[in-house]
């Protein structure tokens, strides 16, 4: 855990160093990526409270992330209050929405629970998408940051501090007797009930807590992206915390956080490999040479070796 915090703290200086060595690189971009990874880490770890610790598969986690984001954006845009007030309110609004919708989702278990959360997430999405006057519909809401936070490095450390506090709180939670109750529910619902645990109540509680931290993550997302948009709540957006959790491993507390860093790197490096992202796909057809070269670049193969697998010589 300490190693990850240290790594997170060292990203901006390392990025600065990298920029000095390599004039092509932009430290601002690296720091931006670091911020993205931190927010994603918080989002995924909060999702893993349900997936890894309680054995609940929710498809509505993106909705609470979006609710957090819109709380920040709306408080700033519609009520003209300071943005930090919005950030403070985001977890509580998300938790409140999580609690109410959780009450509905709790009426079913396992697969049926998952399907209900899917419906809930779509409901929240269409609510945001269609109330054009209030949320701006598909235009989303753009915000401007206060002057103290406009610097990328400051914003990075600001985000890192909040993410760090949230991770610490969640870490205390999963080691506590409450966390023990969650684990026993994951292991065996029937036995958990037979030792006197009110399974439904604990599931609702963890659902609400996860929504709370997702709200924080959503609020931070708005801070560094400076906008909130309805796609954040769309059900496909929920694939992100799922994939990130599975990528890093659901059985350890920090697994999803590490997964978030891997995910951001893969997103940057591997997406251009896809044929569908080829910039000249329509004109030149499939060109595997380019893909091979990018794959090589991603894994640090020297340039002459990268050219070899190409049929057309790159």
């Amino acid at each position: 855990m300490l190693a990850l915090f240290l790594f997170a703290a060292l990203i901006p200086p390392l990025a600065g160093l990298y920029e000095n060595l390599n004039p092509d690189a932009s430290s601002r971009f690296q720091i931006f990526l670091g911020t993205t990874a931190l927010v994603l880490a918080l989002w995924a770890v909060s999702y893993n409270l349900m997936l890894g610790y309680t054995g609940m598969v929710s498809f509505a986690h993106a909705a609470y992330y979006g609710v957090g984001a819109y709380t920040v954006a709306l408080i700033f845009k519609r009520y003209h209050l300071p943005i930090l007030l919005g950030l403070a309110a985001a977890p509580f609004v998300a938790a409140a929405v999580g609690f109410v919708t959780g009450l509905v989702a709790q009426r079913a278990v396992r697969l049926y629970f998952s399907l209900l959360t899917l419906a809930i997430s779509q409901l929240l999405f269409s609510l945001v998408y269609s109330s054009y006057d209030f949320t701006g519909g598909d235009n989303g809401i753009a915000i401007t940051l206060p002057d103290q936070l406009t610097d990328y490095t400051t914003l990075y450390y600001f985000t890192a501090a909040i993410v760090g506090i949230c991770l610490l709180l969640m870490f205390i939670l999963v080691r506590s007797p409450f966390g023990a109750a969650l684990l026993s529910i994951r292991e065996n619902r029937q036995r958990a009930a037979a030792i006197g645990i009110n399974v439904r109540l604990y599931e609702l509680a963890v659902y609400t807590v996860a929504a709370l931290f997702a709200g924080v993550a959503g609020g931070l997302f708005v801070m560094y992206q400076q906008q909130a948009y309805p796609e954040m709540l769309y059900w496909t957006a929920n694939a992100q915390p799922v994939v990130v959790s599975l990528l890093g491993g659901t059985t350890t507390f920090l697994g999803p956080a590490i997964g978030a860093f891997i995910y951001v790197l893969l997103d940057l490096e591997a997406v251009p490999l896809s044929v569908r992202h080829h910039p000249r796909r329509h004109r030149a057809g499939r060109r595997p040479g380019r893909a091979w070269r990018n794959l090589g670049r991603a894994f640090g193969v020297p340039a002459p070796a990268r050219a070899l697998p190409s049929r057309r010589g790159g």
Partner: protein, 302 residues
């Protein structure tokens, strides 16, 4: 199916005739009467006339099938009460009604002076009924000690706490309990890696960790070898005596029933056929008909 039952029934009879066969009752090798007399004294010590669990006219049907039909029975404090009956007699359904997995259509369940009819499982668990399920129900990926620790935490209502370190709470108590059921050496292993018999022992230990006054055992020896059965039932008898537990169990293995139970209730097609001491039950012609009479019909049919 019925052949097996008959065999078990007969095995039960033979056991009583030559108790030396069972390793767990080696003491009877020397003097059967003396051993029986000592057990009678023991019985008197633990056994009281106070009723711990009373079931009053409980019924439950699934569609048109009356799985449990107007069942009434009483379990006395300190008793070891066995429920026997052929498959489909309603034993497991009755257990599910007692521990809240199912709600009865009618009737009342009174435990320790409190009405627990139709309460959810976690509430019933808190009032002091522990249960070992027919299919082993433990936390397989948690260590044996954690299994017991978490039960202790839940029983004392500590699981609402979002702080503190759960794995350090009740660690010594859990270790003691694991040793009491003979699993002290394996306390750090994931419970799911232990043998079937040991997993059943964990289940019983979880009931003890909950401080249950009444322990329900749903076929405690199902799927066990003869050696494991002897070992497991010896453990159950020892724990029940040491900790003044009241046992209610259902079982197909008649040797287990007649070696452990002090009261036997026979169920058949959802109803209570008869109840009494093991000796009375064995001599009851109706019981013999349920177990053996059907067999003849079966043979004629085949």
């Amino acid at each position: 199916m019925f052949l097996r039952l008959r065999e078990r029934f007969r095995r039960g009879e033979e056991d009583e005739a030559a108790p030396a066969e069972s390793a767990g009752e080696a003491i009877r090798m020397f003097d059967v009467r003396k051993a029986l007399a000592s057990e009678a004294i023991q019985t008197e010590e633990v056994h009281s006339d106070q009723t711990l669990l009373r079931i009053e006219h409980v019924s439950r049907s699934f569609g048109g099938l009356r799985a449990v039909d107007d069942v009434s029975l009483e379990v006395k404090q300190g008793d070891r009460h066995a429920i026997i009956g052929p498959n489909g007699a309603g034993k497991s359904t009755l257990f599910n009604l007692l521990t809240g997995q199912l709600k009865p259509n009618s009737g009342k369940v009174i435990f320790d002076g409190r009405d627990i009819t139709g309460k959810p499982p976690h509430v019933i668990a808190r009032t002091g009924i522990g249960r070992a399920f027919q299919i082993t129900t433990i936390f397989p990926k948690l260590s044996v000690r954690q299994n017991l620790q978490y039960a202790m935490l839940a029983h004392r209502g500590y699981t609402v706490r979002p702080f503190g370190i759960a794995n350090r709470m009740f660690s010594a108590e859990a270790q003691d309990l694991a040793e009491a059921v003979g699993l002290g050496t394996w306390a750090d292993l994931p419970a799911g890696q232990l043998s079937h018999g040991d997993q059943r022992a964990i289940e019983i230990a979880i009931s003890l960790a909950l401080g249950s006054k009444l322990v329900l055992l749903d076929e405690p020896t199902a799927g066990m070898s003869a050696y494991e059965t002897d070992k497991a039932m010896e453990l159950v008898r020892r724990l029940a005596t040491e900790r003044h537990l009241t046992l209610l169990f259902c079982e197909h293995d008649m040797s287990v029933v007649f070696s452990t139970a002090r009261t036997v209730t026979v169920m058949h097609q959802g109803r209570v056929l008869t109840a009494g001491t093991p000796e009375q039950i064995r001599r009851n012609p109706d019981v013999q008909k349920v177990y053996l009479g059907e067999l003849e019909q079966e043979e004629i049919g085949a």
